[in-house]
Symmetry: none
Subunit: 158 residues, 2 copies
């Protein structure tokens, strides 16, 4: 599958945002449990693509994703550039959308969202890795969610 690369990299982002992962082999095992069976080589390349760094922490080396890689100019990057890199998951209920991002990037993405000034969106609230978007209606929510999902898919245009 061609699409699997993107999905896999997404899974990687989510795993790394959620747990503490210290080696590619460790990551490989986790991915296995989720149905992906790839070699360390592939992971090395994925981590490079995703700009995921290995940083020393109190508890040893850990992989962490950062916004640095995706941000072309300080915080002014368009949504289309940010989402593929930073969005981890998208979901919603009623007139609300919850958008999960790589840890630490919620503010950045929310900012980009605000700059879009969509009439469908009443406002956004961002924490560390989660953004809550209040939409004008359920229909509005659907529109927005669809668009975001699309933007997140490829490094394409608006």
């Amino acid at each position: 599958m061609t699409a699997s690369k993107r999905e896999r990299q997404h899974a990687i982002l989510e795993l790394i945002g959620t747990r503490e992962i210290g080696s590619q082999e460790e990551l490989r095992q986790l991915l296995l449990k989720h149905g992906w069976d790839v070699t360390q080589s592939t992971l090395s390349r994925d981590l490079r693509d995703l700009r995921i760094a290995r940083v020393p922490t109190d508890r040893g080396l850990r992989y962490v994703a950062g916004a640095e890689g995706a941000m072309e100019d300080g915080g002014r990057a368009p949504l289309a550039a940010l989402l593929p890199q930073l969005m981890v998951r998208l979901d919603g209920v009623a007139h609300q959308i919850v958008l999960r991002t790589v840890t630490g990037s919620a503010q950045t993405v929310a900012h980009a969202l605000d700059r879009e000034a969509s009439p469908d969106i009443l406002g956004t609230i961002a924490g560390d890795d989660t953004i809550l978007m209040i939409c004008r209606s359920e229909q509005a929510r659907e529109r927005v969610a669809r668009r975001l999902a699309l933007l997140a898919r490829r490094p394409g245009r608006t």
Copy 2:
């Protein structure tokens, strides 16, 4: 020399802030020019101490100091350990739960919540002493709320 360690690490920080360094051997060569002659082992330990990460950039792997390493928060305690101490009040409407914590602890608790990766929870957003949790449904909310209430009661099991 004993005191040289501190100086050397200082030099390392400066070098890394100034040039693009991609390997410990490279760093070693630079230090040599500045009068320090140490082995790769030592540099590995220095870089660990300084929390310097190796991140993939456009031009290959580079060592960078700071941000990511410093951003690293330490509170990785499990929910069961946190809640009895930090949760103040629990309430909810529709598919949302509002969890009040001791002032300043919301981020910590929210983080622990995220790490649980419950399918019932779309996401959490934390302020200073309040966490908003968006659940997948009202039923999900009830499940989550019940569980949280239980966990908060005492240092019990997951």
